[in-house]
């Protein structure tokens, strides 16, 4: 398995914050689906944004942050412009906010193509329509001309997926891709994402606070707590998790058909944030 991304001891500190938001996180990623799970505020999104170097107000340090042939730590902003959206992209949480409210959704998708290819608008439009079809949008011509407030959440997130996969990136980070959606459309959106990622051989990082979702959908899972990775294991091995925080998370998951006990209260210990991962 070829390694797409290699991160060693990544730390991120927002300027003015007392403690780093991400603390010495290490992981490797091949052509697989990696899940990052943790409660809100544990630093998951910060990891994703640090990889794309989107954090202007934070200091990023790492021993190594290699994306294929690119050293993400040393890359200039100019190099990053060629990487973002072309080779690495990110699906954001809520299409209500992550799409520009006053531009047609189709034009916004096409913009991703135009940013990296010398192409006519007509060509970009054709590509966009094709991509909209492949995220199971039935009437792409009509959807192309709609505005974000006219599409549903599930449709919006499919448009987001189309926008971020249009340029055939090698790595996609999905930051809580279904958290803002109705429960009924979550599975649908996830399976579309899953299909495209498999078909195209894209490396995927799924960020979520939902352990059930990640264990069903990913090959490997990182558990984060207070900016640190406390445990890293294959999804199928989750039941054999060693770390008490992971065990707590697992016990707190409601199981369909399981015995109806009151869910245990999740334990948190300050020393988990101290231990080296």
């Amino acid at each position: 398995m070829s390694v797409i991304l290699d991160v060693q001891n990544l730390s991120v500190a927002y300027r003015g914050a007392l403690s780093p938001a991400v603390n010495r996180v290490s992981f490797q990623l091949g052509q697989e689906r990696l899940g990052i799970v943790g409660e809100s505020g544990s630093g998951k999104s910060t990891v994703g944004r640090a990889l794309l170097r989107l954090l202007d107000s934070a200091d990023i340090t790492a021993d190594r942050m290699q994306f294929q042939d690119v050293d993400l730590l040393a890359a200039s902003e100019r190099q990053m412009l060629g990487i973002r959206g072309k080779r690495m992209s990110m699906i954001l949480q809520d299409p209500k906010f992550s799409l520009n409210p006053i531009r047609k959704v189709g034009d916004q998708v096409a913009e991703a193509w135009l940013a990296h290819n010398r192409a006519s608008h007509k060509e970009a439009r054709a590509r966009t329509l094709e991509m909209l079809t492949s995220v199971s949008i039935r009437d792409p011509e009509r959807v192309y001309d709609m505005y974000p407030h006219q599409v549903s959440g599930g449709m919006g997130q499919r448009i987001m997926i189309a926008m971020m996969l249009l340029t055939d990136p090698q790595l996609v980070i999905a930051d809580e891709p279904t958290s803002a959606l109705d429960v009924t459309v979550r599975m649908q959106v996830l399976s579309i994402l899953d299909r495209l990622v498999r078909d195209r051989g894209i490396g995927l990082i799924v960020i979520s606070h939902d352990l059930n979702l990640v264990r069903n959908f990913c090959d490997r899972v990182l558990i984060m707590y207070a900016g640190r990775v406390v445990e890293s294991l294959a999804a199928c091995d989750l039941d054999r998790a060693q770390h008490p925080y992971t065990q707590g998370l697992l016990a707190a998951q409601p199981r369909i058909g399981g015995p109806r006990r009151p869910l245990p209260v999740l334990q948190r210990r300050p020393e988990w944030a101290e231990e080296p991962s």
Binding site: G85, F97, N100, R103, H116, Y147
Partner: protein
């Protein structure tokens, strides 16, 4: 929004405007009646007999109760009769139409300067928030907001006209050129261009540039601040992150996304700033002997020319209401969310 609810919304807005206009008329009527100058005496002259005086007095309806007088005023205004100016003997509306182009010429160049200065500065200040360009721009625009414009006008005349001789002094063109071009639009720059009198064009621009720059600078203060705050609202939104994730540069996200999203708001505040320029025009026209609306208003205030003052105040109010309405309409037309 359904077509019917849009129609009722529109009807309600029209009703609001009608009531505001009525209130405006009450206000101007009150101002006219409060004015100490005796309009009858001004018409009949000091030597007129008591009989003549009383005759005109009744003719103008001053013997009727105030509500009746107001209704008469209302009737006159609705039929387009704003009375005659005591000073010039002309219908007030003709006088105002004659002076308005001079003010519009000034205000239009001023708003171009104000928006041309204020919008880029506001964007820059937002992008560089809390760093030195932001602070410099803040001080610069607060200065524009704080200067007594009549005084700055005089100092600018002292420096750029008296000392340096870079610009023309008071008036719209040099005396030498007065009457050289036939008045077509009464916008001297345009008239001179039509007549292909390039020297006159140059002279007119020479006289226009200083007062327009000062007015523009003072209105840029408001435009800068609003642009900055609109931009800050946008820059922190999630869709800007999306644009960056797509691979757009900083500059592209600012101009293609954030700035495009505030253009409707910008047009709105520029329209309001244009109306507010009328206020500065009153003072700057006095300093620059600019024969426009402001000077007409102040000179009639001094002489107590009631009809002229009432009509001027009414006109300013109507312009303001119209600009407010215009900005509402622009929102509806250009923002897809309200369509």
């Amino acid at each position: 929004m359904s077509p019917t609810s849009r129609m009722t919304g529109f009807a309600r807005q029209l009703g609001t405007i009608a009531i505001t206009l009525l209130g405006l008329l009450v206000l101007t009527f009150a101002i006219g009646r409060l004015m100490p100058a005796d309009p009858v005496r001004a018409i009949v002259g000091e030597e007129a007999t008591q009989d003549t005086y009383m005759q005109v007095y009744t003719q103008l309806g001053f013997d009727r109760p105030l509500p009746v007088q107001f209704l008469m005023y209302l009737r006159d205004v609705l039929t387009g009769d704003f009375g005659t100016s005591i000073r010039t003997g002309q219908p007030v509306i003709n006088d105002i139409m004659a002076v308005m182009p001079a003010t519009l010429e000034l205000a239009t160049l001023a708003i171009l300067i104000g928006a041309g200065l204020g919008i880029p500065l506001g964007v820059l200040a937002a992008v560089k928030k809390d760093r030195w360009p932001d602070h410099v721009i803040r001080i610069f625009s607060l200065m524009g907001h704080s200067m007594p414009i009549f005084w700055t006008g005089m100092i600018a005349l002292l420096i750029f006209y008296a000392a340096l001789g870079w610009v023309g002094g008071g008036g719209r063109i040099s005396d030498y050129y007065i009457g050289l071009v036939p008045p077509v639009t009464n916008f001297i720059v345009i008239d001179a261009m039509l007549a292909r009198e390039w020297d006159v064009v140059r002279s007119a621009l020479n006289h226009l540039i200083l007062p327009a720059s000062l007015l523009g600078y003072s209105s840029s203060a408001y435009i800068t601040r609003m642009t900055r705050s609109f931009m800050l609202d946008q820059i922190n939104q999630e869709y800007i992150t999306t644009a960056r994730v797509k691979g757009l540069s900083r500059r592209q996200t600012i101009w293609r996304h954030a700035f495009l999203n505030i253009r409707v708001q910008l047009v709105t505040i520029v329209a309001l700033a244009y109306g507010a320029l009328l206020e500065g025009a009153v003072l700057i026209e006095t300093v620059f002997s600019w024969p426009g609306f402001g000077q007409y208003l102040t000179s009639n205030l001094m002489t107590g020319d009631m009809n002229a003052v009432m009509t001027c105040v009414l006109l300013v109010g109507v312009i303001f209401i119209a600009l407010n309405l215009l900005s509402d309409v622009l929102y509806r037309v250009f923002d897809p969310r309200t369509r």
